[in-house]
């Protein structure tokens, strides 16, 4: 196999879980909700996907279960923040803490068992990779080319006017949050079914937080999200290649680049008013209680 192709495949593997989780979070944030529980939903997806694959012997069944598990787990967040109007930041953190703990407990018996790998389909790449690419296209189309997408964005920009127009703000946000959970769950399943087919406690290792950063880095645009996720994946892989050929860059420096880049992007979009008005969901993180 050509070396460059093989390096490209490694980069795809490193980027796919990030892209999936970030795609979901992008839709969530576009609806005006900030869910910091991505890491928790991902790890629940990873353990659910692994255990379902072990039980059925079929990695695809695992992936489907992971999608559902992520969505169901995110309902906890939706109920608290949307129905009970709890603080979104704190609830998201609670979701992450709970997810990490719960997945460790569920997975206790799977440790040390080789998992079932989801084999590559075409060009050495697996189904979840192709789904992630298709999904980012679909989300882009949905958000900017469909009526439902317009509704979702208007809810994110101003829930009060959306409500006045007769949109069911809460229901739309519920659906968005569940979509985010489903995507994060699938991203987690990629880790435990493709990346390293095994279950290890805490195996998401902060990828959910990176996904959060990527959404902002992409200034809530799907196309930029694709670029961001692959840039990050490339840096992850490049650091080991650099070492193997004898170039020593402190890996910590490379690892912190996406976070620094995200801060700079945040400042830039905040300074450039026009960019901000177009992209940032204005109602992001604000609670909504319908008046009656």
């Amino acid at each position: 196999m050509d070396v460059w192709i093989s390096i490209f495949i490694s980069i795809c593997a490193a980027s796919t879980p990030l892209l999936l989780a970030a795609t979901g979070e992008l839709v969530v944030e576009r609806s005006g909700v900030l869910n910091l529980g991505v890491e928790g939903m991902m790890i629940i997806g990873a353990v659910a996907g692994f255990s379902a694959a072990q039980a059925t012997g079929n990695p695809y069944a695992g992936a489907v279960v992971a999608v559902f598990a992520g969505a169901v787990f995110s309902l906890l967040f939706a109920f608290l923040t949307l129905t009970l109007v709890a603080n979104q930041v704190a609830t998201g953190l609670a979701l992450t803490i709970l997810g990490l703990g719960l997945s460790g407990m569920i997975g206790e018996h799977f440790v040390g068992q080789p998992g079932i790998r989801m084999e590559a389909l075409v060009l050495g790449l697996d189904a979840i990779f192709y789904i992630s690419i298709a999904l980012i296209g679909a989300v882009s189309w949905f958000l900017f080319r469909t009526r439902a997408g317009l509704m979702l964005r208007s809810v994110g920009d101003s829930h009060t006017s959306a409500h006045a127009l007769g949109l069911n703000v809460i229901r739309i946000r519920y659906l968005a949050v569940m979509f985010g959970g489903a995507c994060a769950g699938l991203g987690g399943a990629h880790l435990s079914l493709v990346y390293v087919p095994q279950w290890v406690e805490g195996m998401t290792a902060g990828r959910g937080w990176i996904a959060l950063a990527l959404v902002v880095f992409a200034s809530w645009r799907p196309a930029r999200l694709l670029v961001g996720a692959y840039l990050f994946g490339a840096v992850t892989i490049a650091q080991f290649h650099a070492q193997a050929v004898g170039v020593a860059i402190p890996p910590q420096f490379l690892t912190s680049l996406p976070y620094l880049a995200t801060i700079i992007v945040l400042v830039l979009i905040a300074r450039n008013r026009r960019l901000t008005m177009i992209n940032t969901p204005a109602a992001l993180g604000q609670p909504f209680v319908p008046d009656r």
Binding site: L84, A90, T91, L93, A94, L98, L102, V216
Partner: protein
């Protein structure tokens, strides 16, 4: 059936006091169910978790040690949250505070003087405040979302400290393991009483709690924080500057997180290593909410959360329950606290679905 919220005028004072206790009770119940599902005797499990650590003086000390950074950080966060500023990057401020303070004993390892410790503490607070200043000024100047910037900075801080303790600050005699040289005696925070593990940081936490409580309830600054937090518009009419307050609360909470960091480094670890970030900055958010954003409440809440850590160890030893249980407890606790908070501001009513509500 549908759940409908009805805003209470001014909030319920009964639930304001009651809600943390209801949340605790619910957590204990849920925990009991969890243990039963794991095949453990729930009563014995809960006993090991929540009572056994309180029965032993050494364990009680450990709870105080563990609660110290949580309380210090949570107090600062409470001030931020009350004023409507979402600083969730306390973990980073804690780390940078620890790193700034550690700079003195790491770079001047031989220097022994009574000046060392006060200087370290000041440096720690300065470091934390400086690091918190970044999201604050970005928010005040450019309107950047502080939740995201402060969170991103946590990861930058983790990587930076990691690089320091593996690179320039690594102990040359440490066999390549990450970590600085051990501090000399004058750089170590003394214990409250000899032979005890509880260091001076615990005292800082208590003093900070009382001082901030006083500021919040008895001074104009406290009033300003409350007004701007509730309604920025009303605050502007009263002549308060939201921007200046943002900077102030971030500096304050950063300094407290930094103090927590350097207290931990100098009081417990006695060197700077790569294990300083144990998630206290995030756990403190649970503490802040459990304490109802009240400094005195936080003092108690910090002890409760510390108990879940120490109890988790006890449960691991005597029940064979893994350390994940502690994390599940903490997540549940935060969930229930947040859910119960709703009761303070809203009346919850179950409404049966009306036939005309096509959109609902």
């Amino acid at each position: 059936m549908r759940i409908e919220l009805q805003k209470r005028a001014g909030g319920s004072s009964v639930f304001a006091v009651l809600s943390p206790f209801v949340a605790l009770l619910l957590t204990v119940l849920a925990g009991g169910i969890m243990f039963a599902l794991l095949g453990k005797n729930p009563v014995f499990a809960l006993y090991t978790y929540f009572v056994e650590p309180l029965a032993d003086p050494w364990s009680r000390e450990q709870i105080l040690v563990k609660a110290t950074p949580l309380v210090l950080i949570a107090i600062g966060l409470a001030v931020c949250f009350r004023s409507g500023n979402w600083n969730i990057g306390a973990e980073g401020q804690y780390l940078i505070g620890g790193m700034f303070g550690a700079a003195i004993p790491v770079l001047f390892n031989e220097w022994q003087s009574p000046l060392v410790l006060p200087l370290m503490l000041l440096m720690g607070m300065a470091g934390g405040a400086l690091y918190a200043f970044i999201p604050a000024i970005l928010k005040a100047r450019f309107g950047t979302n502080e939740i995201l910037t402060s969170l991103m900075l946590v990861y930058v801080a983790q990587q930076f400290v990691d690089w320091l303790v593996r690179g320039p600050w690594r102990d040359p005699k440490g066999f390549g393991f990450p970590g600085s040289k051990q501090f000399n005696e004058s750089a170590v925070l003394p214990s409250l009483s000899s032979g005890s593990d509880v260091h001076l940081g615990a005292l800082f936490a208590v003093v900070a709690a009382i001082a901030i409580w006083f500021v919040l309830t008895r001074t104009l600054k406290g009033f300003e924080i409350a007004v701007l937090g509730q309604s920025p518009r009303a605050g502007r009419f009263a002549g308060f500057s939201a921007k200046r307050l943002t900077i102030f609360v971030f500096l304050l909470s950063g300094a407290l997180a930094g103090l927590a960091g350097i207290s931990e480094v100098s009081g417990s670890v006695e060197k700077l290593d790569d294990k300083l970030s144990l998630g206290y900055g995030f756990a403190a958010i649970i503490v802040a909410f459990l304490g109802r954003l009240n400094p005195l409440g936080i003092l108690a809440a910090g002890l409760v959360l510390a108990l879940t850590y120490i109890g988790g160890e006890a449960a691991q030893i005597s029940l064979g329950v893994s350390d994940r249980a502690a994390r599940v407890f903490q997540g549940l606790l935060l969930f229930f606290v947040l859910a119960c908070d709703t009761l303070i501001h809203y009346r919850i009513r179950l409404v049966s679905r009306l036939p005309k509500a096509g959109a609902a």
